[in-house]
């Protein structure tokens, strides 16, 4: 049986302010979904709440990974059960080398029942794998010795997120604007890499404003978020339409959600 991630009527508030007002979508492992929508519509919030960020307070709904409600789990347990998010703004962890961090992360995610203090994956084995993945992503080996996201350029951060995706091999991944801050060549490389890493092995939820990423990872479904709700779901043609013509039609068709989106944007400005 294939794995399924099912977000069900999710309500999320940030600092007491409602942001998501009932978002639902279902992803089967192997599928690619695009999540689109204007700035401030709640796309990142959906990912953050799914991953378990403590600032994002879930006020209603469920996130099922098969028959487990992820909302009952801490972020680390969610990661260990196979959920990943490539962040729009990854955090810097000064003094912690990317390689050290990744060795811990990889060990824990591959052995979800590992207790603290138990062995890490052997250094040799880990290095070999990391090296080959980095070569594949055309990331310089020196990178592994740098401190996690510390002083990274926007592009470097995104590539580090993709490297983590490649190492952790989750069942489901939310990619939050993983293509922004990259130049054209880098976007192409990132898009190809994601297709290769994710492909039919993962369920992908791709948040993007560009079409390159979706060109290499054609979505089976496209969802449009506005004012904290998913207002429309379609196929790849919906993604193309939004790229070409923007959100005018969506705003007109869903005036209530459009008004809420404006409100949210103003409140946060």
């Amino acid at each position: 049986m294939t794995d399924t991630l099912r977000i069900e009527d999710l309500h999320v508030a940030v600092e007491g302010k409602p942001i998501l007002k009932g978002a639902s979508l279902t992803i089967n492992r192997g599928e690619t979904h695009a999540l689109m929508g204007p700035n401030g519509s709640g796309k990142s919030t959906l990912g953050m709440a799914t991953m378990g960020h403590p600032h994002y307070e879930v006020t209603g709904g469920h996130v099922w990974l098969n028959d487990v409600d992820l909302l009952e789990l801490d972020a680390d347990e969610r990661a260990r059960s196979g959920v990943f998010m490539a962040f729009q703004r990854p955090m810097a962890i000064p003094g912690v080398k990317l390689a050290d961090f990744l060795r811990h992360a990889t060990t824990n995610v591959r052995n979800p029942d590992r207790q603290e203090g138990e062995e890490l994956i052997p250094m040799r084995e880990f290095r070999k794998e990391l090296k080959s993945k980095m070569e594949h992503l055309q990331i310089d080996m020196e990178f592994a010795r740098r401190y996690v996201n510390d002083g990274f350029s926007g592009g470097e951060m995104k590539r580090a997120e993709i490297l983590q995706l490649a190492m952790l091999q989750p069942k489901f991944a939310v990619l939050d604007e993983t293509d922004s801050g990259l130049d054209a060549d880098a976007v192409r490389l990132a898009s190809e890499s994601i297709a290769e890493i994710g492909g039919d092995k993962m369920g992908l939820l791709i948040i993007t404003h560009h079409d390159k990423l979706l060109e290499h990872n054609p979505p089976d479904f496209t969802h449009v978020m506005l004012g904290g709700r998913i207002v429309e779901t379609g196929g790849i043609e919906l993604a193309h339409e939004l790229h070409e013509r923007g959100y005018e039609r969506i705003r007109e068709e869903y005036p209530e959600a459009a008004a809420e989106n404006r409100e949210m944007a103003e409140a946060s400005a």
Partner: protein, 476 residues
């Protein structure tokens, strides 16, 4: 792609190693002891110490004068709360009647103590010489033969008073006079043990010399006295480690360390201390650096009830350099008032202070530092960076930077940052499968990494292990 990927082994945080070693430092040794002075401090006790050591008159007078200064000085009103009953402490305890030249010469139970602390093993592996002090006296000493042949002196300070009296008197109590502060005066009155080191001109000691200070008995005060003289162009790395078991009554460790680094010499002094939580650790450390000489203090302060310690470098001649790296970790019931002093007395001297403190479980860390530019210190440069990491709302961090500038033509920089362990950082690591504890340990280790990487491998491992023990909330 010639570069290889290294994942530092010391960052392999949650290893079983730490957990089994929670009590590594917290054990008591049953000893017979050869002589224990009665509790308390007065002229008689101080005379008794001189008698026992069969000291020359000048030292006897120095002690008595220091005692008068100690008694006349009020408690410092800044820093931490010092609630010591000076009459409820033992000032002198002689654990054995002779110092061993081999570990076999050391009384079994004391030898076992140092075995447990890993000293003989470290000595075999990577040290050029060792002094092990138990209570008031150095019980074991060694120095590699070739260094002895080159004229290096590494002995306990008591022996130096007898055997190297001229050299010692030139410096003893001159870099830190007894009237410098109340605790320097106390040490000067009751000092015992400590290291005396002389590195002759041009001699460079490749491996570290280490001293290990162990307090074992309850209510025992330890007052070692260290003097290091690095002659022209010579080099040394000296390391001290300090521990004590936990008792319910407070005790006192009050050392004085004086260092002189002559022209072109280089001295690095590394401290990794992990005192039990009932120890007041009030230490005065000061170095004089002469022309083009370099003095580095690396100061790792863990444990203790209250530590007040501000290693100093006085840059006396042009081109002298002073560097101080300080790490402090305060856990429950602990206050680390730690910092550094740089005094630029000559042109083109360079100083740097990097201080990192971590506060957890209601612990309190303060950075207290002085950067002073004397008149005439033209072209001197000084940079101070202090970062504090606070792990929970109950904990506290303060910064007291003092800057005194008497000369126009200098450059001086100061940066301070305080961060609370970020929920954002924790979440980021946890979202990759690290448990909350692993994640916060990793953030803390990352925070001190710029300092730890300055340590030789063995000490870096030790430092990380100590931090890990603190993170697990177990101190001993």
């Amino acid at each position: 792609m010639a570069t290889d990927i290294t994942a530092t082994p010391v960052a392999d945080l949650p290893s079983n190693a730490g957990i089994g070693e929670i009590n590594k430092y917290n054990f008591r040794t049953e000893t017979k002891g050869v002589f224990k002075a009665r509790k308390g401090i007065d002229a008689e006790i101080v005379h008794q110490i001189s008698d026992l050591k069969d000291e020359p008159d000048w030292m006897r007078e120095f002690r008595q004068e220091s005692l008068r200064i100690f008694e006349s000085k009020p408690m410092p009103k800044w820093g931490g709360d010092i609630a010591i009953d000076f009459q409820n402490i033992y000032y002198y305890l002689k654990p054995t009647d002779h110092q061993g030249k081999t570990w076999e010469d050391v009384p079994q139970e004391i030898k076992d103590t140092f075995e447990k602390l890993g000293i003989p093993e470290a000595e075999r592996k990577f040290l050029a010489g060792v002094k092990a002090q138990f209570e008031s006296e150095v019980v074991y000493g060694s120095l590699q033969e070739d260094l002895e042949k080159k004229g290096v002196i590494f002995t306990d300070t008591d022996t130096a008073v007898r055997e190297h009296s001229d050299l010692l008197r030139e410096y003893f109590g001159k870099i830190i006079p007894p009237n410098d502060n109340k605790f320097a005066a106390l040490n000067s009155a009751v000092w015992s043990g400590g290291s005396f080191i002389y590195v002759p001109k041009g001699v460079s000691i490749e491996f570290p010399l280490q001293a290990y200070f162990r307090i074992n008995a309850e209510s025992m005060g330890q007052f070692e006295r260290t003097l290091i003289i690095v002659d022209e162009g010579a080099q040394i790395h000296y390391v001290e480690g300090c521990t004590a078991p936990m008792y319910s009554t407070e005790s006192l460790h009050s050392a004085v360390v004086e260092i002189s680094v002559r022209k072109g010499g280089r001295c690095r002094y590394t401290t990794i201390q992990n005192w039990a939580n009932n120890i007041y650790n009030l230490v005065t450390k000061r170095a004089m650096a002469y022309q083009d000489a370099t003095m580095e203090w690396i100061d790792g302060n863990l444990g203790s009830k209250l530590t007040m310690k501000y290693p100093a470098v006085y840059m006396m001649e042009p081109g002298a350099r002073g560097e101080i790296l300080s790490i402090a970790f305060s856990g429950q019931g602990q206050h680390q008032d730690a910092g550094a002093k740089l005094v630029h007395c000559a042109p083109n001297t360079t100083g740097q202070i990097i201080s990192k403190s971590i506060s957890k479980d209601g612990g309190r860390s303060s950075y207290r530092g002085l950067a002073r530019m004397e008149k005439g210190a033209k072209g001197a440069k000084c940079n101070v960076v202090c970062d504090a990491l606070i792990l929970d709302p109950a904990s506290r961090s303060d910064t007291y930077p003092y800057i005194e500038v008497m000369e126009q033509d200098v450059s001086i920089g100061h940066e301070a940052s305080v961060s609370r362990i970020g929920e954002e950082q924790l979440f980021y690591l946890m979202s990759r499968g690290l448990s909350e504890q692993e994640a916060s340990a990793m953030i803390v280790n990352g925070f001190i990494e710029p300092l730890v990487k300055e340590l030789p491998m063995e000490y870096a491992v030790e430092m990380n292990r100590l931090i890990q023990l603190q993170m697990e909330g177990s101190v001993g």
